[in-house]
Every structure is written in structure tokens, then in C-alpha cells.
């Protein structure tokens, strides 16, 4: 796979199907071929007109010529509209965008290619599944976490993936699912000490990324996370999608500097809303300078 410039292409929905109780697989056919690297994303505008005022970001799972496959969950107005779209519905696609996950060859200075530990939660699966398909090797470990058995897209994680579920319901009889979160599963498999360092790649909800970062930090492992932030443009012009920098010097953008970032480049204390509907961290003492209503 080679890097490629982003393209703005029109196209249409080719197919839509469920791959778990809550996860959809969407295939769009575009007017031209595209390529991507695992971890890159696209901005998708369903309707192609102005039904969506802002396009929505989605990781790219696969590209086959002019056909692009995405996985998504219906969480709000835009994704609900996508979940009910029909083949032939027009789309506008902008991609591939952003920085990909490193390939195994991009070893840290002076080291040989490390073994990898991939952790995906929910719709964090596509970029890591794409990475496994492109670069996976013997010795790498692939872990996927879902809410319960129904939430896991079993057909997609059949090859080499181990799964964790929060609740042990609807798990097919012939599979072995760990009860707990995906980081607990990693601890279970790797034990408290590991022989060889691994590079950790993760994508999923913020709580997962925090836990993975802490886990990798304990062992001193290189950790790359794919972050989510609300996006305006997706191509680096609006400064909408910012992620606080670890050095306190302002922000990185999820769309241009990311979405894949080194975990230690992020100020985790100031990143994201506190879970469970509490006030945003900005309102609970994460002091960064300007605070006004101006655009």
C-alpha cells in the first residue's frame, strides 16, 4: 500500500448490512479508485447535498478499486440516517485523510521491528483490522472488546482475534470470550511481566485509550492511539478537532496531526469529556487560556 493524496469523489451506496447487533458495514462505490493506509479515515457526506451540514469522519476498513468499506454504529442523527440508507443513495467522499498507524517496518531507532499488540473497542475495529490484513505477523496479538456477544462482529474477528465482553450474553457456544475489558484481557494473556517489548496500537472509546495508555506506560512500551474528536472539515482548515498536547503548548488536530498519535503526545488529563455526562474537563479545572464564544 502506498500513501496517496486525498480525493474528493462522488459516489453512491452499494450495500449496507449488519455485522453484529449494532455494527453496520457500508460499502460505497466511488467515481474513481482510491488507496489508503490503515488508520486513515474519510469524511462521508450522505445525501451528497446539504442534508448533513458537516460530513462525518469514518475510518476506512478496506478499499477495493473504487469500492470503500466502512463499519459504523448508529449513535446520532447522521449515523442513524446512514443506517437507513438505500443502495443508490448519493454520497460525497473525501479521503484518505490523516496519519496512519505505523507499519511494522517503522521500527523505533536502533531496534528491529517489534511484535505488536492491537487493541480495538467497538467501532475502533476497522483501522486495526485493516492493519492486521496488511501487516499482521506471527507473534502479534489482536484483541477486540465488545459490550456482549451480540455486539461482536464475529465474522470479522474470526482470524486470530481474541475477544472480551463486558457481559457474557449472546456469546456463540464454540467461542471463548473473556469477561472484562480488553485491557484486562491483555493483562491476562501477557501476565505481569513480558519477555519482549511490543508496540501497542489502539482504537476505541476514550476510556479504552486511557486504559491502554496506562498499560503501555507501565511497561515502557511504545503506544499509538487513534483518537476521536468532533470534526468540522477533516482536512485541517477549521481547527475544530483539537486534542490537547502533552507539553501544554496548545493543541494537535485529530484530522491532520492524527488521528493516530503517540500516546505520550497527548495531555490525557485535559483530553475529552469526563465519562457519564459529567461536565467537560474544561469546566472542571483543566486550565488552558482562551475561553470565549468567538469563532
Amino acid at each position: 500500500m502506498t500513501t496517496s493524496d486525498p480525493w474528493r469523489l462522488v459516489g453512491e451506496v452499494e450495500s449496507l448490512g449488519l455485522v453484529s447487533s449494532s455494527m453496520y458495514e457500508l460499502v460505497v462505490g466511488l467515481e474513481d479508485v482510491v488507496s489508503f493506509r490503515p488508520g486513515q479515515f474519510c469524511m462521508l457526506n450522505l445525501g451528497g447535498g446539504r442534508e448533513m451540514v458537516l460530513s462525518r469522519p469514518f475510518s476506512i476498513l478496506a478499499v477495493d478499486g473504487n469500492r470503500v468499506t466502512l463499519l459504523f454504529k448508529a449513535v446520532g442523527s447522521g449515523t442513524r440516517a446512514m443506517a437507513t440508507c438505500k443502495p443508490g443513495a448519493p454520497v460525497v467522499f473525501l479521503g484518505p485523510l490523516g496519519q496512519p498507524f505505523p507499519s511494522p517496518d517503522t521500527a523505533t531507532a536502533g531496534q528491529t521491528a517489534p511484535r505488536h499488540l492491537l487493541l480495538a473497542g467497538g467501532v475502533g475495529l476497522p483501522p486495526l483490522l485493516a492493519w492486521q490484513r496488511a501487516w499482521g505477523r506471527e507473534g502479534d496479538l489482536y484483541l477486540f472488546g465488545g459490550r456482549d456477544g451480540g455486539d461482536v462482529p464475529w465474522s470479522l474477528v474470526s482470524e486470530g482475534w481474541r475477544c472480551s465482553v463486558d457481559r457474557h450474553v449472546d456469546v456463540p457456544r464454540n467461542v471463548d470470550a473473556f469477561v472484562g475489558n480488553v485491557v484486562e484481557l491483555a493483562r491476562e494473556i501477557l501476565g505481569s511481566v513480558d519477555d519482549e517489548p511490543r508496540r501497542v496500537l489502539a482504537c476505541g472509546p476514550l476510556a479504552l485509550l486511557r486504559a491502554v495508555t496506562a498499560f503501555a506506560g507501565e511497561r515502557g512500551w511504545d503506544c499509538r492511539v487513534s483518537v476521536e474528536e468532533r470534526m468540522g472539515c477533516g482536512y485541517g482548515v477549521c481547527r475544530g478537532c483539537v486534542v490537547p498536547r502533552a507539553d501544554g503548548e496548545g493543541y494537535l488536530t485529530a484530522c491532520h496531526d492524527g488521528p493516530v498519535l503517540a500516546a505520550d503526545a497527548i495531555d490525557w488529563k485535559c483530553f475529552g469529556r469526563a465519562e457519564g455526562g459529567s461536565p467537560p474537563v474544561s469546566a472542571i479545572g483543566c486550565n488552558r487560556p482562551e475561553q470565549d464564544t468567538k469563532s
Binding site: D5, L54, V92, G232, G236, C241, G250
Partner: protein, 306 residues
Amino acid sequence: MMRRPDWLPFDPGGEFRLGPRVLPGRVWTASGCFGYGLTGRDIKASDGGSPFDGLGAVVTKTITTSPRQGNPPPRIWDAGSGALNSIGLENVGLDRFVDEIIPALRQDRVPFVASIAGTRPGEFGDMTRRLVAAAADCEHWHGVELNLSCPNVAHGGVDFGRRPETVRDCVEAAVAEVTDRIVLAKLTPNVASIAELATAAADGGAHGVTAINTLLGMDIDLATGQPVLPLRRGGYSGPAILPVALAKVDEIVRESGLPVVGVGGIGSAEDALKFFAVGAVAVQVGTSQMNDPFSAAGIAGVFNGS
């Protein structure tokens, strides 16, 4: 190519004069929605076009004298018929704009208008003077757009841009520094009479006004009962505000007679024509340009037949 409507007194595709300048086109990108005019050049389309094709000007992201980090995220939200934003004027500051952005724009031959914001009238003059010193020989630099909706420390936090006298003073300070560049005053719609502000800008010697900046807006996340933006309220833009923007432009044209650059909700050539119909001399594309990097170039293409 679109047939020019009989009622339109000018060719929407050609170059045009505004104050002391001739600009290459009437379709511009709006401040804050296309960065500094340096990003997006690598984006391709199947017809071989570029997002910069046919643009009359890129109005660069508003800069302030010192860099600003901007507001905490989330900063942007699709509120249904429009977008809410709370970027907080994150920008690189005047020094980097002069040292890095202007040389790159000059090299890429991007026609641009620099948007600036200050906290007192004299600062608009000082910033303009720096720009003139740095770009006087750059034929692609057409002038400044004064973003007059910044909190004014000198007046107890009341937006400067809402007081006609300050609007006049800011414009006057900038106009005093230029000879052959445009000074545009960008007006806020969040006032009782926008025409009064335009008249004040005319008194200060502005070559025109840009209208409108975002409307003050808000949305609630029903899952939490909390505002979606950490700072509660933000700027509302996009398709929903087009009729409001059109009414404001109409009011300004009729009451002040100043040339108006229309902005608000424009996403198609038809939308742009509505602004020309009420008397705007040029238009800017904001939210739609974020949504689609070819939005403004596409509209320009309809007008100039490419």
C-alpha cells in the same frame, strides 16, 4: 456555465474592482473556514480541478497580535440545519503570519485578504502597518478584513463590534495605514441595527463591509442535559442562516450604500446569486467550504464557465 440572469448588472465570473483593487473573482472563502490558504492544495478531484481554482480571494483565519490557543474541545457541532462552533480564535499570531504564512501565500500565488482582530482601535492600525510592511510588494495581497467581534477589554467585555463609535475608530486606524489595499469591516449580526454599524464603518473610510459573522447559538445534548459546547454558546453558521444573512446584507445595501461582501449559508451558485440580487458585490463561502473543499471553487466554476 450558468446563463447570466437578465437582472444581474455585472458578470459574476469576471474580475471586479473593489476600492483601490481589482480582484480576480467574486467568490471568496470566508475567514476561519479555509485555514490560511495553504492547506488543501493536495486534494484532488476527478475533473483535475483544485480547491483554489477561480477563487477571488481566500480570507485567512483571523490573526491576533499574539498567538492564541483557542477554546477546549468539542469546538464544532452539526446542529441540524447549521453548525455551531467555538474555536476561540486559535491562531498563529502576527509574527508567524508575517514570517511564514505571507511568504508561502506569495509563493503559491494565492489571492488573499488578511483577517485581523485587536482589542483596541490602535491595535488594528498597528497590525495593518506590519502587514503593509511585509506584503506591500505582494500583488496577491488585496487588503485586510477587520474581524470586529472580539471581546473588548477596554470596554468591560462588551463586544467592540457592537458599538458604532468603536467600529468607526478601528476602521479609521486601519485605513490610515494603507494606500492601495482594501479595508473591509466584518460585522456581527448580533445587534439591533447592523446598518448603523455599516454607516459607522463608512464614516471611518472602509471600502466595504463583510456581512455576516456567525449568529450566537446553542444546542443541548439531551443525554446529559448539558450544552454541547463547553463554553455553552458559540457561533451558528451554515444553510440555516442564509435568509438572515440575506436580510442583513439587504439592510446594509439599502441604508448605507457601502459595497457589501455577502456571507452566510452560501453553498451553491444559486445561493450566491441571491446575495448579488440584493446588491452584494462579492460573496464568501464558509461552512460549506469546510464540508466540501471544492465548494467555493465549484461556485466560481459555474460563474466563469470552467
